[in-house]
């Protein structure tokens, strides 16, 4: 598999603050790679280094097998970029932006279809657009040259669910056509829906890089049970129980891995109600953060 992005020991300091502290990452051709982390974890700084907006303090980044220090200009011909809150020129219309990008990148083959697909009005000035329409314009500008790599920094922040779905659809289509997508987010359901792999960053360091499928396998279960009789919590001394909460005769148990030892214990009692659910991906990620503390 070809690596589209290779990051080696990337560090970025702002004075004494280590915003990115030695991260290594590889993004393979044709995958949607999620980059997860809370605010201030170093996601945007990493992306700014990837795009060449900021210069790394040390380490190396290569995209399409070429070092960004020496080939950034050639690399950017094939990269689309979409930041979270798109900032464009207030007094320019959508067409002004599109024409400017065409002048700089060359004639777009798919501009009309993108405008129609996103139901975007390019005659309005940027300052008059709603936040959703601003993001649509940003997306059109990022996609209009059919990039091989799309880098997105929290692209669906503040967007309505319909537009989010449309963006997800576009990204999946791009993946099918062989494009690579690097997407930073803290929207976990979005990551779960879209991504093939995710890297989790915390305080500038990569905590884990996981396949979404294997993350699913590591999922937690939540068992909520209401007993007819008294239940003694000391009966539940089982290693794979992560958490127990109890109110009266009801208990909530978070279990990691095999459920059967827990079920063996609780079925010895008379049960009034029982519900077993998958814990959310968010719970799984929270476990990663807790482990990294």
């Amino acid at each position: 598999m070809t690596n589209v992005i290779v990051i080696k020991d990337l560090k970025k300091n702002f004075g004494s603050l280590n915003a990115v502290d030695g991260i290594d990452m590889e993004v393979t051709k044709g995958e949607i790679f999620g980059f997860l982390g809370p605010n201030g974890a170093g996601k945007s700084t990493t992306i700014r280094c990837l795009m060449g907006f900021n210069t790394p303090s040390s380490g190396s980044i290569s995209i399409f097998g070429r070092d960004i220090k020496t080939h950034l200009n050639a690399i950017k011909k094939h990269v689309g970029y979409l930041p979270g809150n798109v900032k464009l020129y207030d007094n320019w219309t959508g067409w002004d932006h599109i024409n400017f990008f065409e002048d700089a990148r060359g004639k777009s083959k798919n501009i009309q279809s993108l405008i129609e697909r996103f139901d975007f009005n390019p005659t309005a000035k940027f300052r008059h657009l709603s936040s959703g329409n601003k993001q649509k314009l940003g997306l059109i500008l990022a996609l209009m040259h059919e990039p091989k790599l799309l880098i997105m920094d929290e692209p669906t922040v503040g967007l309505d669910p319909l537009l989010q779905l449309e963006i997800h659809k576009v990204l999946k289509e791009m993946r099918e056509e062989g494009a690579t997508i690097f997407i930073s987010s803290h929207n976990l359901p979005e990551v779960e829906t879209l991504c093939d792999r995710v890297a989790i960053i915390k305080q500038g360091k990569i905590v884990s890089i996981e396949n979404i499928k294997s993350l699913g396998e590591k999922r937690l279960h939540k068992i909520e049970v209401r007993f007819a009789d008294n239940f003694n919590l000391s009966e539940l001394k089982i290693p794979n129980i992560e958490q127990i909460d109890s109110i009266g005769n009801s208990i909530s148990i978070t279990v990691k891995g095999d459920l059967n030892p827990v079920l063996d214990v609780i079925t010895r009692h008379k049960i009034l109600d029982l519900e077993i659910t998958h814990a959310s991906l968010e719970d799984v990620f929270m476990k990663f953060y807790e482990r990294a503390k």
Binding site: R48, M51, G52, F53, N54, T55, N73, A74, K76, K77, V79, Y81, P83, N85, K87, L88, Y89, N91, F100, F101, D103, A104, R105, L141
Partner: protein
């Protein structure tokens, strides 16, 4: 397209260029219109000027011994090039310089520009020279604009003086623009960049006044752009001051090179 960034800069700033140019023409028209009545009273005005203490005129970089308000270029120099026009120029030059870098950083639009496949130096230089072109246009309109208005009002003029004045005025504009570009590339906030550029120009003006008033500090004048561009006398005397080309042009060039190096290296997203 080859000059996409220059073209866009010209389009974006053309409206400001027109506003500043029309303002300078309006000032010229005002002074040309009142000149005939001043000329009629020139002997009295010249006499009146001699009553004031010489230090007062030194403070405004004016040598009244060789000046007469019966001459149109002398009058326009002292009233327009010595006061109004430099103020317009400074504001316009700083606003252009800010637009090139610091404004983009403050508004976050720099990421849009930098996501395009163009070298930083190409983007910077195209925008820089587009801005310099607008400044050159402003200088031409602000100096040569007096000629048709003088003709319209039947005022005699010495055309050679305007060419000399335009050359010095452009060098002065370039130096101010490059100073402002330097601060535009250093800072991430427009207010700070404007304050530094404006502050340094004020200090330079004070240096030229102090040097004129105090013989012991006379050499301080060489650190001031206002020594090389003496608007109060420029049109009247038709002389390019010593070292003006070297000092103003040299500063413009050095500041451009330093600013380009900083822009290529600095973090653009903050």
């Amino acid at each position: 397209m080859m000059f996409v960034f220059a073209k866009r800069m010209l389009r974006d700033k053309f409206k400001s260029f027109l506003i500043y140019s029309v303002a300078s023409i309006a000032f010229i028209e005002m002074f040309v219109a009142i000149f005939p009545s001043i000329k009629d009273q020139a002997a009295k005005v010249d006499q009146l000027m001699k009553v004031f203490p010489p230090a007062l005129f030194k403070a405004f970089n004016m040598d009244i011994s060789s000046m007469s308000f019966g001459n149109f270029e002398t009058f326009l120099s002292s009233k327009y090039l010595g006061m109004m026009w430099p103020v317009l120029l400074i504001i316009f030059a700083i606003s252009l310089a800010n637009y090139i870098v610091v404004n983009e950083i403050e508004k976050g639009t720099i990421e849009t520009l930098m996501s395009l496949p163009a070298k930083r130096s190409k983007i910077f230089l195209q925008r820089y020279f587009a801005g310099l072109g607008l400044l050159a246009g402003f200088c031409i309109i602000g100096i040569f604009g007096a000629i048709p208005l003088a003709m319209l009002h039947g005022v005699d003029f010495a055309i050679a003086n305007y060419f000399t004045a335009a050359i010095v005025a452009f060098l002065f504009a370039w130096a101010i623009y490059s100073l402002a570009i330097f601060f535009s590339t250093i800072f991430s906030e427009k207010g700070k960049a404007s304050m530094m550029s404006g502050g340094i120009l004020v200090v330079m003006y004070v240096l030229s006044v102090v040097a004129a008033l105090n013989d012991n500090l006379v050499n301080l004048k060489y650190f001031s752009f206002f020594h090389y561009f003496n608007g109060s006398e420029l049109l009247a005397k038709n002389v390019i001051p010593d070292y003006a080309v070297l000092a103003l042009g040299g500063f413009g060039l050095v500041a451009l090179i330093v600013s380009l190096i900083i822009f290529k290296r600095r973090d653009l997203s903050v």
